[in-house]
Subunit: 332 residues, 2 copies
């Protein structure tokens, strides 16, 4: 396939929003400064400069554009969303003791855990100041709620990840915390700032939620069946880290007594041996849980597109529809 | 002195605000809940139940009362302030690897660093939701700014604490971050929510700032001359932890070449031997820096009282005046 003539939906979005995103990047640089503590912009720049797809701020810009917004507050909100995301990554890498992020050593490794915790706190505070500047209490409520759901989901994951009692509804709650809460808040505030009618705002929120859940399920599925050259991750990292994700949860739910003992040993007790990952993949194959997981992701992506159909047709809407397809198309 | 007939200003304040504080405590319990992650209220309760003086929420309640406030939003703001403070403590204990807080093992020790980081994040998000409920963008701006100053001050302390180039202005910035930023925001929002005129709001803010800086200087001074039975801390903890505080900064500023070499070895390089703390105290004695530090604290307390004199006289004002005196009286 010729990439130039058939770019990925994400790249087409980036193209269409290039001017706004440039303004977002300028604002991010400006607001990550600190009058007194130079380490703050150093740590932030390390993460921000590493790139990342900037998907979340693009969702805010796209939602605002979709609703015909003419002002400039969407740029502030997009920067807010990226700050919240960056703060979350800084804290996550401390929580997970991660060593790599976006192909570079993590901030907690280059500086220390202290800097990552405190710079994350600083960025959160700055993100709230940006929101205050928009003068919208509704925006503040939506993004504060998203922040609470994010940390709640992370705490839940802390206690539920290696617990075989974790079922699909707990998994979904964690996925919302890790991904969908910020996706849906990002699209929702784009609608709110545009003064879009309530049903459109609700549709944008539902789109972000469906997209975010599909995205997280896809991510967890790729951990078991991805091409490690393409994903940059090794197959089975989640298994080795004893993280229960959807493909395993579905296999545990149908496990025989003997299979259950296998999951207890490898996930709950973390006593893993050579060949265990292969056996885990066999069990997922036996119950078809990888395919069932893929179908779940597809259903959430469909839900996202369905929601979006409540909005008037436009190029931007088509790109967001394609984005939802793309998240799950890469799975098949 | 008969304690019953001459209670401390803090206890008199607690008495006068007992009804409001009871409402604050109910609200804190209610809002620290989590639908999905029971670990969140567990960790929060561990810290909240340990007591602490609840000085910061009392400052908000007192400021609102002082301005004749008749509504109920001051209770929400007081709970907000306590949530921000609790989140800061959770993160600080991770940053400092602390083992004890309020006479109990720290949350990072009882659970883990992960829980402390994430529960702190959750409480910050909840505190913003509480503020949104008051509908005041100005309150949101003041407390977001305080949050930014807090983390900025902590980051600054991380890099400046053992660096002999740290001067009194950097020390003051750190003290504002550690203590005065939240004190001054706490009193300021009490005025704002009451609809007090700008000059009164500014006076309340200045009072909180003076009180907070005096409080932090006093704390740092007591580290060198406190009665360890009363403070619960060992004399010289800051010296052993290589934290430059005002008494040492003043001694470094006047040091001979030989004395400077001593500070470089003990603080910058952290190479400490038996007798070093005693020698450090000798040098502080030689330049009278403990007394000079005490006089600085007194000056900030005086500044706090001076600011408060812009407000109409009342019992509440008298108690806040006495509180400023008390912070420094315990030093002499």
């Amino acid at each position: 396939m010729d990439i130039a003539s058939n770019p990925k939906p994400h790249d087409r979005l980036a193209d269409a929003l290039a001017e706004d995103m440039a303004a977002v990047n300028v604002l991010i640089r400006e607001r990550m400064k600190s009058e007194h503590a130079p380490r703050i912009p150093e740590v932030t720049a390390h993460l921000i400069d590493a790139g990342g797809k900037r998907l979340r701020p693009m969702l805010t810009l796209a939602a605002a554009r979709l609703c015909g917004y003419q002002g400039s507050d969407h740029v502030k909100l997009a920067a807010t969303v990226e700050f919240i995301h960056t703060a979350t990554l800084l804290h996550d890498d401390v929580v997970d003791e991660s060593k790599q992020r976006r192909g570079r050593p993590t901030a907690n490794l280059l500086w220390d855990n202290q800097s990552s915790v405190l710079v994350g706190d600083y960025l959160l505070a700055r993100s709230f100041l940006l929101m205050v500047e928009t003068g919208s209490l509704r925006v503040l409520e939506i993004l504060s709620n998203a922040s609470a759901t994010i940390s709640e989901g992370e705490v839940l994951q802390l206690t539920a990840a290696s617990d075989l009692k974790t079922d699909e509804s707990i998994y979904l709650q964690v996925a919302r915390g890790k991904t969908a809460a910020l996706f849906s808040a990002a699209t929702e505030v784009g609608g709110v700032i545009s003064g879009a009618p309530d049903d459109q705002v609700a549709a944008l929120r539902a789109y972000g939620d469906g997209l975010g859940v599909a995205f997280q399920i896809a991510d967890d599925l790729l951990d078991y069946q991805g091409d490690s050259a393409a994903t940059g991750k090794n197959v089975g990292d989640d298994f080795r880290e004893r993280k229960l994700t959807l493909p395993v949860i579905k296999a545990v739910a149908q496990a025989t007594e003997e299979e259950r003992a296998f999951w207890v040993r490898t996930i709950e007790k973390g006593n893993q041996q050579d060949g265990d990952l292969e056996h885990a993949l066999e069990l997922m194959g036996k119950y078809g849980t990888l395919e069932a997981t893929r179908l779940d992701a597809v259903a959430h992506a469909e839900r996202a597109k369905q929601a979006l159909s409540a909005l008037p047709d436009s190029d931007m809407r088509a790109m967001l529809m394609d984005l939802a397809d793309y998240v799950v198309d890469r799975l098949s």
